[in-house]
Amino acid sequence: MATFRTNRRTLLKGAGAGIVALGAPHIFTKGAWAQNFCNDPTNGKIVFGFNVPQTGSYAEEGLEQLKAYELAVKHINGEGDGGMLNTLKPIALKGNGVLGRKVEYVTGDTQTNTDAARDGARRMIERDKAIMVTGSVTSGEAIAQQSLCQEMGVIYMSGLTHSNDTTGKDKRRYGFRHFFNAYQSGVAIAPFLAKEYGTDRRAYHLTADYTWGWTQEESIKNATEALGWETVATVRTPLGLGDYSQYLTPVLNSGADVLILNHYGHDMVNSLPQAVQFGLRDRQANGKNFEIVVPMFSELMAVGAGEAVKGIIGTSNWQWSLDDEGTKAFTKAYGEAYGAPPSQSAHTGYVQAILYADAVERAGTFYPPEVIKALEGFEFDGMGNGPTVYRDSDHQCFKEVLVVRGNENPSSRFDVLNVIGKTTREDVTYDASIFGGELGPYEPNEC
């Protein structure tokens, strides 16, 4: 059943041989020709690995993403109505699987934990022979899996990850991100903040005290200061705190008139309603209405925050109520399958799976360097975000960024966010060198 492999060098040097000999018979399957790569599915199954949090704090977003992946596999294999396969342009997929063969999948639970995420990804690669791993709800998970996959020579398509680091400082040749990032949030939201709240504002930042929070704080601070806003204070709050009262009371008389919450997920679900309860939005400061801004949020967070989210401005990667063809096709397919509209977490996962499959189809091989080259610089449209490009220098997708506002009068329980505008792809494009990092080699490792 099991095939035992080891590194060639190990055996040549002979050191580990004594230990190894105790174990079991070996089948030495290594050649040096270029097309030999990890989990080559030419003679086996085509397996995608979907690794998302199914337990822990972000289980809901993870499970939504998982549903979308399952839908994507159906569509790639030609089941169902095809969803975005009908709208993606250009498209190489034919609705008969990938390179004419059906795709299968395995799943895993990252528990929103970097170690568990890597354990899951290793299982998919080592045991289940996955040719591609995808899925994440936090940047920690995404970066952990991405660096692992680089080492194993398996392509990783990240799910929801918003930190600049994923395609910046910690970018990898084998990692690709469709989701937008904190820098783009800052650039995208700034003109709308100026329009809604003016250019003469004093902002107070509450920031989750970890890497993602810092990158977002920095991005938003730079963007708002460029508008002419003044930053009164930037205060760090412990992750997963629950009760933010001790950080909210100092805001009241700080002289600030805007509170920016650089919180994500459960942090935001708690801090935003608490800020509203403290009467921040009923106050006047510097002769203006006090405002709260949450630079990045999702519909699941909006649902969790309840009424407090009404009227709050933030950015989103995608929203099901958009009226382009791709969005309509995906929302319809997902809604029919699961009885509710998809979240942006589901959308980004679905798109990533389709894009990978399409890249393989275009490359005509599963050989990772060729697939990577097919993805790098790929221009496409019809996936719900307008014309999009996978930039080759950092593997970040560039597309429109949505600016959304909490819906004041929701018509249904799913109708929590309104899209109030889009910032164009040109505006959110930046120079890849500003975040440093290096992609690493194309050549796959032997896993």
Binding site: V20, T107, I143, A144, L148, Y210
Partner: protein
């Protein structure tokens, strides 16, 4: 000095065979791949070390994950600054986590019982929170400490051993890569050594003294026996085991994240030890394997796989069976784990090993003379 009693020798031999043949007997269980087997070995080391403290002295540390984390961070830093060879990294990790344990143990061991537990918990939680936030320059916070191609690696530079590869350097053992199965066998050999060491400690006068402390510390003190150095030594040894486990985590997979220090991870090793059997040699190992197995294998079963597995059933029945079972696997794997905890502790008091002994004793009693009472039967 290296001698063992006959019983212990047999146990060690059996244990070695079981560990080294893991790739074979785990295959039908769907767990025979290097990633998980490495974790089996590493967490078994962690639990064995924890058991030296908890099983022998009765001191329940709720902050052992801190040493695991310190070991991991030290190892990655050794890779970054010194050399990609695993030996210096392991040595440093054990030393640093030992020093860390010495400091925490020195303070925590001033108290006993629950007060001790909360002190260790508090130290570990402080380490976790700081590692996640303000210590990010050292720990790289949320993302975890990763290797980079342009790390200095002074030792390698001196010896001219800088691997000239295009990608990231890989940890090596005297020039041999330790990924995949090699990594597993490395961990397995260290696990066997750790098991041997714990046998020696259990059988030594030191171990007897620790047991004496467990049964009645006050009496030990009254007999003029200073217990502090003994408990502190046990604490430091067990912290070094944890540091070693942390080092192996980073060696087999060069990334160190702050989550390794969180209380849930400390709680995990407590659960592993209790589940298998506190104070027994095999117990913690079995507990560790069981929990890691559920975490990695049960969580990976999805409805699709269930549907395939039960496709021989008629449609309606299949749907029903799959719906019921899907609550216990995939996203519901923790439900199964929780139920298992409750059932084991209710029906097998003393953990799995104790339960096994009782079961065997009952079998033996039925076979042999009915009045014979097994020596493993604990007094209640």
């Amino acid at each position: 000095m290296f001698s063992l009693s006959r019983k212990d020798l047999v146990a060690l031999a059996v244990f070695s065979v079981v560990v080294l043949t893991m790739p074979i007997w785990l295959a039908p269980l769907g767990a025979s791949y290097p990633g998980l087997m490495q974790k089996f070995a590493i967490y078994a080391i962690f639990a064995i070390g924890f058991n030296i403290l908890f099983g022998l002295t009765g001191y329940l540390s709720f902050g052992h994950a801190a040493f695991l984390g310190v070991g991991s961070y030290t190892t990655v830093w050794a890779f970054k600054l010194l050399s990609m060879d695993v030996l210096p990294a392991m040595v440093f990790a054990v030393i640093v986590s030992g020093v860390f344990a010495l400091v925490i143990g020195y303070f925590s061991l001033r108290r006993t019982g629950i007060y001790f537990s909360i002190l260790t918990l508090a130290f570990a939680q402080m380490s976790y929170s700081l590692a996640y936030s303000v210590l990010t320059p050292i720990t790289n916070g949320e993302t975890g400490l990763l290797l980079a191609r342009n790390d200095p690696r002074y030792l390698d530079a001196i010896f001219g051993a800088q691997a000239d590869v295009a990608g990231l350097p890989q940890p090596t053992l005297i020039g041999n890569s330790v990924s995949g199965y090699t990594g597993f066998y490395l961990c397995a050999v260290i696990l066997i050594l750790a098991f041997y060491l714990s046998q020696k400690i259990f059988a030594s006068p030191f171990g007897m003294a620790l047991r004496g402390i467990k049964s009645n510390q006050t009496r030990m003190n009254y007999t003029g026996f200073n217990t502090r150095p003994y408990t502190l030594a046990a604490f430091v040894i067990s912290g070094m085991f944890a540091g070693l486990a942390g080092a192996l985590l980073s060696i087999t997979d060069p990334l160190a994240g702050a989550e390794r220090m969180k209380w849930t991870e400390s709680g995990n090793v407590v659960l592993m030890t209790i589940l298998g059997g506190v104070g027994t040699l095999f117990g913690p190992v079995i507990g560790a394997w069981l929990i890691k197995y559920f975490e990695n294998i049960f969580s990976a079963i999805n409805t699709n796989m269930l549907n395939n597995a039960f496709s021989f059933l008629p449609d309606g029945v299949q749907g029903f069976v799959v719906t019921v079972l899907s609550k216990f696997v995939g996203e519901g794997w923790q439900l199964t784990l929780g139920l298992m905890f409750v059932l084991i502790v209710v029906f097998l008091p003393g953990g799995l090993v104790e339960g096994f002994h009782r079961f065997m004793a009952r079998l033996r009693r039925r076979k042999e003379a009915p009045e014979r009472v097994s020596s493993t039967q604990p007094a209640e």
